[in-house]
Amino acid sequence: MSFKDKLLSSYIALEDYLEFDSPLHELRNNAIKIFEEKGFPTKKEEAWKYTSLNSLLKPDYCVFSNKERNVELKNVRKYFLHEIDTYKLVFVDGVYNSFLSETTHDSLDVCLMSAALNKSKYKPIIETYFNKIAKSDSLTALNTAFTKEGAYIHIPAHKEVEKPIEIINFSTGNEASMFLQPRNLIVVGENAHVQIIERHQSLSSNEVLTNSVTEIFAEKRAYVDYYKIQTDEATASLIDNTYISQQRDTVCRVHTFAFGGNLVRNNLNFYQKGENCDSTLKGITILKGKQHVDHNTLVHHIAPNCESHQDYKGLFAESSTGVFNGKIVVEKDAQKTDAFQQNNNILIDDKATINAKPQLEIFADDVKCSHGCTIGQFDEDALFYLRSRGIGLKEARALLMYAFANTVLESVKIPELKMRINKLIANKIGVSLGFDL
């Protein structure tokens, strides 16, 4: 049985547990139909030209884990931003772990999707926002059909959340191969501020495939600062589908640090629905071995007087592969748009590959759009300069890598997170410099 067939029959099994005739059930039914029709994307689709899911669909994934496994804090503490106080939503093999989590209902909701879907007090929010911005592509639809658990975060108007919220999905390897589909909904009310850190972490070398969907709604004047830490094991793959809807005067920033995993596909979509929005999409990708990371971004400028800033830096060693597919759409009414996209890549070894494809679709006539893409190697003159000062080749390369990544790192607003990312970079490139950037 193919993985697709297995999922379709699993859905029928899941239906036994669902409430019939609820609006949500109808949503699920429609979604599974979309998945049934479209199936998993293939390289024939333009958006998947450089990324093949074939090898990921072969294992006999466990879709619902029956065995529960606890994880001990001491073993996973390092994956948290433990230097500072945070709210935490922790899921182990797709199941909420109350022991490791720190939720709240005190003036804001940081809790569970399962609760939000089932309790009547959350109904207005779910009805207003759930699955309202997510696309109906097959992977998102697959997640929608199976929506069970994930983060539910609701920040009411004018609330400035005093500490970051961490969303961590652990997989323990209690199944030989596990398929996870977390579903997050984040609603940030008018003039509210929030910082969120999201991480997927496998705790074994068993295979994991995660198909995650996150919807973020920023109501007017809201500020959302979101960090994705992708430093997973070499046997873990991730398809991340993130949708951000911005009302007027909002600032939304997503930083993606892709250093690990087997295959990662980031579908990051921004929709600017009101005037004067500011969107920032930044990423550092550092890969080696046979790792593959595909950043597929969309910034949809719908309203006038908005800005978007994209800055993706990639360093590719050994036979790793990177893809950057950045699309900017400026609608007819989105006059005075200022859209900027930059993608710089360094190929460290001969066998490394990067496929970069900027796409601009502009229907307005008074806009400023620019994009720049570079693919290069280390600057030999810069290397000689550093080495002539006594800095060894390996360290000199590391220094240039740090310098290269710095434009992304410098805009991380949580100092402890920035330090942590510095360490992750040092680990990844195998050189620790005597300073942090």
């Binding site: 600057d379 030999e380 003159d381 810069a382 000689f384 300069y385 550093l386 080495r387 002539s388 000062r389 006594g390 800095i391 060894g392 080749l393 360290e395 000199a396 220094l399 240039l400 740090y402 310098a403 290269f404 990544a405 710095n406 434009t407 410098e410 410099l433 005597g434 300073f435 950037l437």
Partner: protein, 249 residues
Amino acid sequence: MLKIKDLYAGLEGKDILQGINLEVKAGEVHAIMGPNGSGKSTLASVVAGKDEYEVTRGYITFENEDISDLDPEERAHKGIFLSFQYPVEIPGVSVTNFIKTAINETRKAKGQADMPAAEMLKMIREKADMLEIDRKFLSRSLNEGFSGGEKKRNEIFQMAMLEPKLAILDETDSGLDIDALKIVANGVNKLKSEDNAVLLITHYQRLLDYIVPDFVHVLMNGKIVKSGSKELAYELEEKGYDWIKEELV
């Protein structure tokens, strides 16, 4: 200290240096002058160990050890410093972090522990003051957006921090106004001792008014064609290089 013997070196099979012989002893200042394209900067890069140049004949010894096959960083660890004609811009790395890394990497190579932070800071301040460098300048990204003069002053600052045995100053005077030139020259003179040596590479005699050489060599077509005392520099300034060409014929 530095001995260059019958050195042929160049790029892609074409020798730019065509049989250089030069000896620089501790305590000496040598100036290498010559017209554009004579191989001055190539000589500086070859001594500092730039990979892309290939030595096809001859050798370079430093303190009686053949360094022809050493990497640039190994030569730096032995005490060779090159002040670049065109220092490279490295955005994202501050002058301070860069120099700290350079010093500690050099110490590591010698089996020494990192320099204590307080000592490093004190040294940075002293050397910056000596070269009249503003403290704010030290937290800027290395060479990024620096004026020509700032870049050169920053090179001499690095030299002051690294305290090399042999400093090769490649066109350090270019891009400097007279005040900056005096500050830079003053810095070099203060660092000068009986135990170290300076190799000045310059187009003009102007710098030699401030850093007085013991020997002046004229480089033409990849060869040292004439050597003499500092008076030779004045003669070159006055008469240009043509008379040497004629003399050679």
